[in-house]
């Protein structure tokens, strides 16, 4: 600790941080632009000037930029010296020479950092009398709008896009005062992190095109803390609603998870919620025709449908823990089946076993970004968990610090660190089925089948352990020894894997590697990507089996009725199998959007999306996080657990064996009741009680307001329906109001509905919510881990049989690959995402494509298990001959059981 004097008062501060960070952390307001807490200092904008004095007798002092000045014990600075106040005003005036006065029509207006800083510095009178510079804007695709005349050249965009996110199609052009930030020509930004430009830009150069289409100012948005549902990372988000439409998604800071950023799937996937075809009323199917029926009628139908025969429940990895639990409780533990394929169910169980019993620490995203060596084995995280890829991308820069630390360059001096160490990249290894967007930064990238990947991992572990060369996979030996050496030399290596290849062997190899590294004393950490937002929660809740088991019961007639929760089983099981199983059963489906499964239902009951409900999700690291209802209640958007409780209520006559938990459901009145029952039955979930305050929680006697203190139109909000002011809806489930009435200060971190602080209207106000700028939120970040690694677990290494790939004549080994835009079910329903989703395709090696007389984009037919799939050809380098990679989950593509052998033929259609 050091003592520094600010405006003549002493403050105890942490050494080794920049003066700007220190002052902001202490609560002082210093304006800035180019500095960003995740990207640190470059000293470009010259806005954060303060006065520094040599000693206490120095009355004159000298101006320094606080972002590029370190703190030293005894240093004296002034933030409010008249000369430096005038300097900061002068900088804004210079930035304003070319900035258009278009705030009223600018999407950033009202949450613009430049506006805030202009007001803060007191620049009110314009002296510049010459013409402003203008630019031609670019079409950057469906996510981002470009209005470069507003640019103040802080260079944050290009630093984020290129240096942080690794994008290579966006840059800075030109020189002197004609600097252009954009692409080399019009076109969609290629990076899946492009949406962050909206929040990184301190003004309105990059704005959210999806929000623009139903624009609402920040102060008119109803917001609440939420969690992204589009992968297993569980990034924290702030959705914003107005007039029943979800307007946008913004980042919600979580130090351990997503930090300051989101991926474009998470940011733009929300529009499935706004779709016209959302299920808004119960639908009864008669002779293949679905017709809306009143709620009352629907419940009598449920009673009729489920009164006879045995009912089973099928849960969902995209539904909340509470909803899954409600279903499980209702139908009973013996009748509840996890809504995932049985093989995925087994893998998930294995993952839980590993997290529980391996003794290995699971890496958070932050820990990944700070790891000094990484191996990604068997999972294309850039497509299945994009934010994890972004975190891992940062790990290669750790090596830079080796020399710069030695030179005494502070780590916050981003420019110096980058320039001194740009050519020092840390070890980064990939072993995946197909090419990935991380290959470009890899020390080496291995491509192979799951068996080969597992063998490579296992061999590497053995090499680290001092084992000898394996005859069987000799061709990978060089790769394995290089990797072994680098991983062994690392102090904080991370092994990232996943189950998207359907391979337990890959998981086991990853665990062996991590255990081996741990045994060598390294702080090795593991991470296992799961397919969906609540895969781990569903796994922990358990079930009688997976989807195959459930459908077998229906097919065999052992069960007659099925309640399906938020699940399109056709995405998880071959179409013919699913159709056969459902055709003979009475099918009740609860979902918010139409799917192939709702098409086969006898009765569909509408439920709410995550934005309409409260709930809990468990991410890949077993971090449990609460999401709160954002949207005001709307037709059909009922919490699934509440719908199930109503079903329980409606059941008059029923088979007691089918609904053993019926009575407890009828007791539930609010969300906390569900939670109480849940943790009572499953103690593993007890930490959930601590992750957010209950509905009865009040601050100064108030609930937290979902609407801002300047929300407009309050008294005429529904004037088209009724000129009298309406009573805001009551929320019995959460400590939030659907109103501007309520608490507007800083609530506990799990309840932060938006970032806003006096003088800080933009997202930069987040500084005020952190205990230390760039660090943890005040009171700790939201979420708790359910599973803690056992000390001295003593887990044994798995036995892994080394296998090499043997091609077959006339057949190809087909492996699944995923698309960031399109492979995830809900975001693929969002029109902006859909607009950039590719058509289903098959990746082949150049040699195989030639032998099949296929070129890029030429049509082909893939035949697996008697089914045929029409696809486009994609030729890529690095693909092993005799294998092919099928894009899975894309709209228009039926489920295929993979990996599997298949035949490929040229097609003429």
């Amino acid at each position: 600790m050091a003592v520094i004097y600010i405006n003549n008062d002493p403050y105890e501060v942490q050494e080794g941080r920049s003066l700007l960070e220190v002052c902001l952390s202490l609560g002082f307001d210093i304006p800035y632009f180019c500095w960003h807490p995740a990207m640190h200092s470059v000293g470009a904008c010259r806005q954060c000037a303060v006065k520094q004095f040599k000693d206490k007798d120095d009355k004159h002092g000298f101006i320094v930029m606080s972002c590029v000045t370190g703190t030293e014990d005894g240093m004296r600075i002034s933030i409010d010296d008249p000369e430096v106040i005038e300097f900061r005003r002068g900088i804004i005036e210079l930035l304003m020479t070319n900035h258009p006065h278009d705030c009223p029509v600018c999407d950033e207006g009202g949450e613009c950092h430049l506006q805030d800083m202009t007001v803060m510095t007191g620049h009110v009178e314009r002296h510049f009398r010459f013409k402003k510079r203008t630019y031609r804007n670019q079409n950057l695709g469906p996510f981002i709008n470009h209005e470069l005349n507003r640019c103040i050249q802080c260079y944050r965009c290009v630093r984020f896009y290129k240096d942080y996110a690794g994008g290579r199609d966006f840059d800075v052009f030109g020189i002197h005062n004609r600097i252009y930030f954009g692409r080399d020509k019009d076109g969609k930004l290629e990076s899946e992190f492009s949406g962050n430009l909206v929040e990184v830009c301190p003004t309105g150069v990059f704005t959210d095109t999806t929000q623009y289409r139903h624009y609402t100012r920040k102060w008119d948005l109803q917001t609440a803390p939420s969690v992204c549902v589009h992968c297993s990372v569980g990034c924290d988000i702030i959705p914003g609603e107005r007039y029943g439409t979800l307007r946008r998604i913004r980042n919600r800071y979580n130090h351990h998870v997503n930090g300051y950023f989101l991926c474009d799937r998470g940011r733009y996937g929300y529009e499935f919620i706004n779709r016209e075809d959302r299920i808004r009323s119960p639908l009864l199917v008669n002779n293949g025709k679905a017709a809306p029926i009143p709620e009352e009628a629907a419940y009598s139908q449920v009673s009729v449908l489920l009164s006879t025969g045995k009912t089973i429940g099928i849960g969902s990895p995209r539904a909340s823990l509470e909803s899954n639990f409600a279903l499980k409780r209702l139908v009973g533990n013996d009748n509840f089946y996890a809504g995932i394929s049985s093989s995925e169910f087994e893998l998930t169980t294995l993952v839980i076993e590993i997290i529980k019993n391996s003794g290995l620490q699971i890496a958070t995203l932050r820990e990944m970004s700070e790891s000094d060596a990484a191996l990604i084995i068997g999972e294309d995280v850039s497509n299945t968990a994009p934010m994890m890829a972004l975190a891992l991308r940062q790990s290669i820069h750790q090596k830079r610090y080796e020399y710069t630390d030695k030179l005494g360059v502070p780590r916050w001096n981003a420019l110096a660190v980058k320039q001194a160490g740009e050519f020092d990249q840390g070890p980064f290894y990939l072993a995946t089925a197909g090419n990935t967007r991380l290959d470009g930064i890899a020390t080496a990238a291995f491509k192979g089948t799951p068996d080969e990947i597992a063998s490579l991992g296992s061999t590497t572990a053995k090499l680290i352990d001092g084992g000898g060369e394996s005859e069987k996979i000799k061709k990978h030996h060089e790769f394995a020894s290089k990797m072994a050496k680098d991983l062994e030399n690392a102090a904080r290596p991370v092994i990232v894997t996943g189950i998207s290849q359907g391979s337990a062997e890959i998981l086991k190899a990853a665990v062996n590697l991590a255990l081996t590294l741990k045994s060598k004393g390294a702080g090795a950490k593991l991470a296992i990507v799961l397919p969906e937002c609540n895969s781990l929660g569903l796994g922990l809740l358990g079930g009688k089996g997976g989807l195959d088991d459930a459908l077998n019961l229906l097919r065999s007639g052992e069960a007659q009725n099925v309640l399906i929760l938020e699940n399109d089983i056709f995405r998880r099981i071959p179409t013919d199998v699913a159709e056969e199983a459902l055709s003979g059963a009475k099918v009740v489906v609860l979902d918010h959007s139409p799917t192939a499964t709702t098409d086969k239902a006898d009765l569909v009951l509408p439920v709410g999306t995550y934005a309409d409900c409260d709930g809990t999700l468990v991410n890949y690291e077993s971090r449990t996080q609460r999401f709160f209802q954002v949207m005001s209640p709307s037709p059909g958007a009922v919490e699934p657990w509440r719908r199930l409780a109503a079903i329980a209520e409606a059941l008059n006559t029923y088979d007691a064996n089918s609904f053993p938990g019926r009575d407890s459901l009828t007791q539930w009145t609010n969300f906390d009741d569900v939670l109480a029952t849940l943790v009572e039955e499953y103690p593993v979930f007890r930490p959930i009680l601590d992750i957010a305050p209950p509905a009865a929680y009040r601050i100064a006697g108030m609930k937290v307001a979902r609407q801002t203190h300047r929300y407009s139109g309050r008294t005429s909000i529904a004037a088209n329906l009724n000129i009298h002011e309406q009573q805001p809806p009551e929320d019995v489930d959460a400590p939030f109001n659907f109103s501007m009435e309520g608490y507007h200060g800083e609530p506990p971190s799990s309840l932060i509905p938006r970032y806003w602080a006096p003088r800080w209207n933009s997202v930069q106000s987040l500084n005020k919510f952190q205990a230390e700028v760039g660090g943890k939120l005040i009171g700790g970040d939201p979420g708790r881990r359910l599973l803690k690694p056992k000390l001295n677990a003593g887990m044994q290494r798995y036995e892994i049989e080394l296998k090499s790939f043997e091609p077959k004549e006339g057949a190809w080994f087909i492996m699944p690959i995923y698309e960031v835009f399109g492979s995830e079910e809900l975001s693929a329903k969002s029109p902006p995402i859909l607009s950039v989703t590719p058509k289903p395709y098959l990746v082949l090696s150049a040699k195989d494509a030639e032998s099949l007389e296929l070129e890029n984009d030429s049509p082909l037919v893939l035949k697996i298990d008697g089914s045929e799939y029409n696809l486009k050809t994609k030729i890529e380098l690095g693909v092993t001959d005799g294998t092919a990679l099928l894009s899975v989950g894309l709209p228009g593509m039926k489920y295929v059981n993979l990996p599997s052998w298949g035949k490929i033929e040229k097609s003429f259609f």
Binding site: V42, G43, A44, C45, R46, Q47, A49, F62, I63, V64, V68, F87, G90, I91, L94, L95, T97, N98, H127, F128, R129, F130, I152, Q153, Y155, V172, G174, I175, H176, N177, R178, I179, Y403, T404, K406, L407, G408, V409, N413, L415, A416, Q419, A420, G421, E422, F423, D424
Partner: protein, 424 residues
Amino acid sequence: MEKPLTKGFRPDGRPLTIKEYKKIGGYEALTKALKTMTPDEVLSTMRDATLKGRGGAGFPAGIKWEGVPDKDFLKSPRYVIADADEMEPGAFKDRWLMEANPHQMIEGMIIAAYAIQAEFSFIFIRWEYTEAQKCLRFAIGEAYGNNLLGNNILDSGFRLDMHVHVSAGRYICGEGTAMVEALEGKRAIPRSKSPRIVESGLWGRPTVENNTETFCNVPHIIKNGVDWYKSLSLSDEPGTKIYGVSGKVKRPGAWELPLGTTAREIIEEHAGGMWDGHELKGFLPGGASTDFLTSEHLDIKMDFESVQNAGSRFGTGTMIILDDKTCPVGMVHNLEHFFTHESCGWCTPCRDGLPWTTMILKALEDGEGRTGDLEQLKALTKMMAPHHTFCALAPGAMEPLESALKLFREDFERHISEKKCPWR
């Protein structure tokens, strides 16, 4: 009076061949260094010689070289760069040195490389110096052919390669750290000043960079010793200097003279005085980015310290003369127009402040000046004062403006009150 740097220059201006250079003692210093001195001895000689860098900032070359980390501290390649990117308006000394005797600089660079144990060196030369490029390329070829570059130089075991990089043209490349960026194939945006490039320069590795004229001094120091070198000058700063004069003087040109020669001697004797009927109104002592001095400063010694004490900067030592028939506002406008165009666009005061400055000056020149313009100019000089900007470009640009506002205030005011340029 000894003129070691320009000794033996051919009257026809053609470059000395290696034979001719050797005849006047060329490469003897290198031989001496490689055969009889350790790298540390070269470093300490250079430190003792207190040669001040001739690129403009005047940082002692020996101290700079000693800043290169030990091989124990950092085992990595090291680099030597010659800044032959002479782009300061009014400067034309390096071109002369390179065109007349390219080997002299090359020899200086090889000695520097030996001192810091570099294996690779670059000459960063501006695009427009096509003649100098030819001379250097030819001379480098000769040096390779004579075992003065490449492997095992003069059988000493030391090796060095040399490469000419032709700049695609930007004044900011003359900023040492920006030059490193340019050599890496990037936009020449200056770097953070910490770490220094001697610790972390080209590709993050230790790099010594000096001006052409600085390297030209090196062989003579090594060959003749520190005492001899110190005896050359007329001031506390050792050595000779290539001085130059441009503007309306009778014999504009460049001359090698002892450091500390007075401005009067340079302008009146060597440059032949002002054109007939023209009076000296002021002069920029060391190029475009230095403060104006006036006739009252003619008797100061032209060296780093004396010029600084007079309120300006010695800079490149090439003077630009303002006469009484030339509009000082117009001259400053021309200078600021240049700096505006050459701003790299990285930091706010320079990128947005310089264009504004130029616009006001143009308005004054066009008779569209307004009350308050001079105060605004003054305010802009404050925004672009030293350390207020990221690098020294804008503060340098402010030097002629700030001094002109003081010295020629009346002339500025007349532009506003008369609504035209009085010189037009």
